[in-house]
Amino acid sequence: MFDSNDPKNSIKLRAKTVFYAILILNLILIISLYRLQINNAEKYVLLSNRNRIRLSPILPKRGHIMTSDGKIIAGNICRYKLIMDRCSDQIFQKNMNILEQFINFSNEDIVSILDQRKRKLPAVVIKDGLSWNEYSRLSMILFKLKNVSLENIYVRNYTMPLEFGHIVGHTSKNSDSIPILVGKIGIESSLNDQLIGEIGNIQTEVNAVGQKVRILDSRDPIEGKDVILTIDTQIQKYVYDLLSAEKAGACVVLDISNGEVLAMVSVPTFNPNVISGKMTNSQWRSITGDPLFPLMNRAVSCSYPPGSIFKIIVAFAALSEGVVSAKDKILCTGGIKMDDRVFHCWNRAGHGRVDLYDALKFSCDCYFFEIAKKLGIDAIVEYAKKFGFGSKTGIELPSENVGLLPTKRWKFLRYGTSWKSYETMIAGIGQGALLATPMQLAVMLGKLYTEDYNFSPTLIKSAKKNQVTNPIHREHLDIIKNALYQVCIFGTASGSCRTDYGISGKTGSSQVRRIKPQEVGLNQKSIPWASRDHAFFVGCAPYKNPRYVVAVLVEHGGGGAAVAAPIARKIFDRLMKK
C-alpha cells in the first residue's frame, strides 16, 4: 500500500486519502443543501410563511334597511368584546387577576376561557357583550395589560321587529370560518349581496409564540349598501295593528302608480331580534313548533283558494271572448245540476235572473258556473295567466309561492285522470285546486287598474315610473271596473265599503272543505276555526284616478264581506288621509 520506509510519503499519502474523504463529505453537504434550498425551496417558503403570517378578517358594517320615510328598521348596534392573544400562563394569570376587578366572570365564562386556552386558539375571547360601563373602564386600564385588546363587533338590531318581521327577515352568523352575518329570510336574505358589503382583512406577522409583531398588509372592509324599502312606516304600523287582532291573516297595500308596496303584513309574526340574537332552544321550539307557523309570510309564501275574487278574471275572460255581453242575463235558481250532482250557489234561494253586474255585485255562483262552462278551462287559464296567476309576482322576497293554476295537463300529470267539466265550473268561482297568494290577488287588481298586464310590485325604492308596456283591452275593463265599484255601493261590500272617494273591490269567502248538508246556512262563528271560510277582500280606491290597491286575507275569518272588507275600508280611509 505504501512505502513504509519513507515516513513523509506515508503520511502524505494517507493525508490525501483523508482529504478525499473530506471532499466527499463536503459534497454530501452541498447536495443536501441543494436539495433543501433549491429543490424544496418552495415548500419551505410556504411553511415559513405559514409559520408567521396570520390572516384575520375585518367584518364590514352591514347595510341598513330603511322605510321610504327614512326610518331605519334594520340597523347595527355595537357589541364590545374583550380578546386576549395567545400568551404564556404567567401573563394570562396576571391579566386575569387585573381583569377580575373590572368584570364579573360567571362560571360559564371561566370554563369557556380555559377551554379556549386549552385549544391553543390564537386569540381567546375573554368576555363577549361587555356593558358600556365595563367597556369604558377597561379601555382606561388597557395599557396595563399585555396581549389584551378590546374589539367591537356590530350586531343586527331591528326596530319595530313585529311590524316588519316578515319583510326584513333576520340574519344569523355564517357557519364558515368567517363569522359574518348572513340574511336568512326576508329582504335580509334576498338583498344579502347588497347589504353584506365586502370583507376586509389584515395580515399580521406573528412570532414563534404567536404574538403580533407587525402588520404586513391590510384591506379595509367595504360597508354594505343601505336598502330603502317602499314601505311606509305609518301605514305598515296601522295595518299591522288592525290585522294583529286576527288570529292569522295577511294584507298587502300597493301604490299602483309605481307598483310600490306600501305595506305588507302577515300575522302571526315573530321577533327577528330574538332569532338573530342568542336564542335558547325552547325559544326556537316555540317558534318552529307553533301550529300557525309564524315564520311564514302569508302575503307571499302561502297560497289560498281565491274564491269569489277569481270571478273578476272569469267575467273579464267571458267578455273578452264574447261568451256573454254585459247585459246578458242568466237565471240563478240556487244551484245547477251537473253529472248527477248539484252545485249550489252560496245563496240557496237563488238570485233570479242576473246580468254580469249583478253577478259580481252579489257574487252569484250560478252565473259563473254557466259562463265558465261556456268558456272552458283553457280560456279561463289563459286569462288567469295574463293576470299573474300561477307565476311569481317578482316581489323581492325569497320563497315566494307561485300558487296553483290547474290545467288539463296539470290534472293529468298530477292525478293521471282527465279533466272533468264540473271542475271547470268550480274553477269559475275560484274554488277547486286553484290557489293564489294574497300578493298575487293584489297584483291582479293592480294589473286591472293600471290596464297593464306587465304591472309588477316592488319592495325596493327606485326612481322607476310605471309605464304601460302591455295594455289591456279598455272596453271590457271599464265594465269590470264599473261592476267592482257597484260591489262596494250596492253589493256584498256595500255594508262596509261605501265611501265618498269610492272603493271598487270584490269580496271572497273561499271554502276550505266541502259543506255538509246539515251545515247549510250555519253561522260561520259556530263552526270550528280551522273549518271556517277564508275571508278575502281586494279593492282599489279612489274610484277616479285609482291609486291604491288593498288585499286583505283573514285566514278562516268567515265571510269576506263581514270580516275582510271592514279591515280594507279602514286601510283605505287611512290611505286617503295620507
Binding site: M1, F2, S4, N5, D6, P7, K8, S10, I11, K12, R14, A15, V18, F19, I22, L23, L25, N26, I28, L29, I30, S32, L33, Y34, L36, Q37, I38, N40, A41, K43, Y44, V45, L47, S48, N49, N51, R52, E205, V206, N207, A208, V209, V213
Partner: protein
C-alpha cells in the same frame, strides 16, 4: 519586526479566508441579534480581536515549546475536565463549563488542542517502521479514549465524537495498519446500537427525532423542522440581509450559537451556504497544504490534525442543522457565538502559521 511582517505577509491566503469568515461571522451575529449593535454583538467583535491576538501569541511561541509542553498541556486539560465534574456549572443540562468567576471556559475545547498536540508529539518520536507495529498504537488509543469517555459522560456526545474522529484520523495518518483500522471502524459502527442503553433520555429523544423528525413536530422535532424551514426558505439568493423571518421571529432555536448557519442560510440562500462551505474547505485545504510546507513530523501531524478538527466541526454542525445528523451541541468554527470555540480555532490558525514559519526562523 521581522516576525510581525512575516506574520502579516507570509500567510496572505489564510488572511483572506479568515477575513471573509470573520466578516460573515460578524454579519451573521449582527443579524441573529436582530440587527442591533448591542452588547452581545460588541462582545463577539471583541472576541475576534482577542482571538487574533491569541493567534499572534500562538504564532510567536517557539514551535519547540509546543512540542515540549504537549504532554503537560494534555495532562492539564484532562485534569480540568475532571474538575468540571466536581465544580462545573450545569448549563443546558450538560456540564461543560468551569466558572472561573471572571469568565467561563470549556476544558473540552482545550482538550481538542491538547489531544492533537499529544498525539503529534507521541508519533513524532516514532519512525514509520515502528508504527507498523500495533503495540506502539496502544498508548495513542488510550490518549484518545480517556478524554472521549470522560466527555461522553458529561454528557457531551458531540464533542466526544469529534475528539474520537480527530484522534482516529491522526492515528490513521501515522501508519496504523489499514486492515485493522477498517475492521475497528466497522465493528465500532456495529457496537453503536449497544451504546443506546448508556444514553440519557434526552439523547435517545434526539436520535429518535433525527430518525423521524415528524414524530413530534411541536416537541423534540421542532428544532430540526424549524431549522430546515429556515434553510429551505432561503432558496438561491436568500431572503436578504436581516430579512430572515424564521430567525427574526424566534422560530429558530439557539440561532446565535449552534444554529448560526441556519440564520446565514436563510438570509443568503444556497449562494451563502455554498460560500461558507467553500471557505471552510479552503481553510482545511490550507492546513493540509501547510503540512507539506513543514519539515518535522510533529508539525505535519499538527497541521493535519487541526485541519481535520475544523472540518469535522463544520461537517457535524451543518449536517445536524439540515437534519443529516442528530442534534448534538457542536459550534460552527468562527461563526458561532461563544468565546471558547473562537479562541480554540484562532489558536489553531496560529499553530499552523507557527509550524509553517518555523523553517524561516
Amino acid at each position: 519586526m521581522k516576525l510581525r511582517q512575516h506574520f502579516l505577509n507570509e500567510f496572505k491566503i489564510l488572511w483572506i479566508i479568515l477575513f471573509f469568515l470573520l466578516l460573515i461571522s460578524f454579519l451573521g451575529q449582527y443579524s441573529a441579534f436582530s440587527g442591533t449593535l448591542d452588547g452581545q454583538v460588541q462582545k463577539h467583535l471583541i472576541r475576534m480581536i482577542v482571538g487574533i491576538a491569541v493567534m499572534w501569541c500562538a504564532y510567536i511561541v517557539d514551535f519547540k515549546i509546543w512540542s515540549n509542553l504537549a504532554y503537560a498541556f494534555y495532562a492539564f486539560s484532562l485534569i480540568s475536565l475532571m474538575i468540571v465534574d466536581l465544580l462545573g456549572t450545569v448549563k443546558l443540562g450538560a456540564q461543560r463549563w468551569i466558572d472561573l468567576y471572571f469568565f467561563t471556559f470549556q476544558p473540552s475545547e482545550l482538550m481538542k488542542l491538547a489531544l492533537i498536540l499529544a498525539l503529534a508529539r507521541y508519533y513524532s518520536m516514532l519512525s514509520a517502521l515502528e508504527t507498523v507495529d500495533l503495540k506502539c498504537h496502544i498508548s495513542p488509543i488510550f490518549f484518545t479514549l480517556l478524554p472521549v469517555i470522560w466527555i461522553a459522560k458529561q454528557p457531551d456526545l458531540g464533542t466526544a465524537g469529534l475528539l474520537l474522529g480527530t484522534g482516529f484520523v491522526m492515528i490513521f495518518l501515522t501508519g496504523f495498519p489499514q486492515k485493522i483500522f477498517t475492521i475497528v471502524i466497522i465493528s465500532l459502527m456495529g457496537l453503536c446500537p449497544l451504546g443506546w442503553f448508556f444514553l440519557h433520555d434526552y439523547q435517545k429523544n434526539r436520535i429518535l427525532t433525527f430518525l423521524a423528525p415528524d414524530r413530534d413536530p411541536l416537541g423534540a422535532g421542532y428544532n430540526i423542522l424549524q431549522s430546515k424551514i429556515a434553510i429551505g426558505s432561503g432558496h438561491v439568493w436568500g431572503r436578504g440581509f436581516l430579512q430572515g423571518t424564521q430567525s427574526k421571529l424566534n422560530f429558530l432555536p439557539e440561532k446565535n450559537t449552534d444554529f448560526i448557519f441556519t440564520t446565514i442560510a436563510e438570509e443568503s440562500g444556497f449562494f451563502g451556504s455554498l460560500l461558507v462551505l467553500c471557505l471552510f474547505l479552503a481553510l482545511c485545504g490550507y492546513f493540509f497544504w501547510a503540512a507539506s510546507e513543514t519539515r518535522t513530523k510533529f508539525s505535519k501531524l499538527i497541521c493535519y490534525g487541526l485541519g481535520t478538527l475544523i472540518f469535522l466541526h463544520v461537517f457535524v454542525n451543518i449536517a445536524m442543522v439540515i437534519g443529516l445528523l442528530p442534534i448534538v451541541g457542536i459550534p460552527l468554527p468562527f461563526l458561532s457565538y461563544g468565546g471558547s470555540s473562537m479562541i480554540t480555532f484562532m489558536i489553531s490558525c496560529g499553530l499552523v502559521m507557527s509550524a509553517v514559519g518555523q523553517k524561516k526562523r
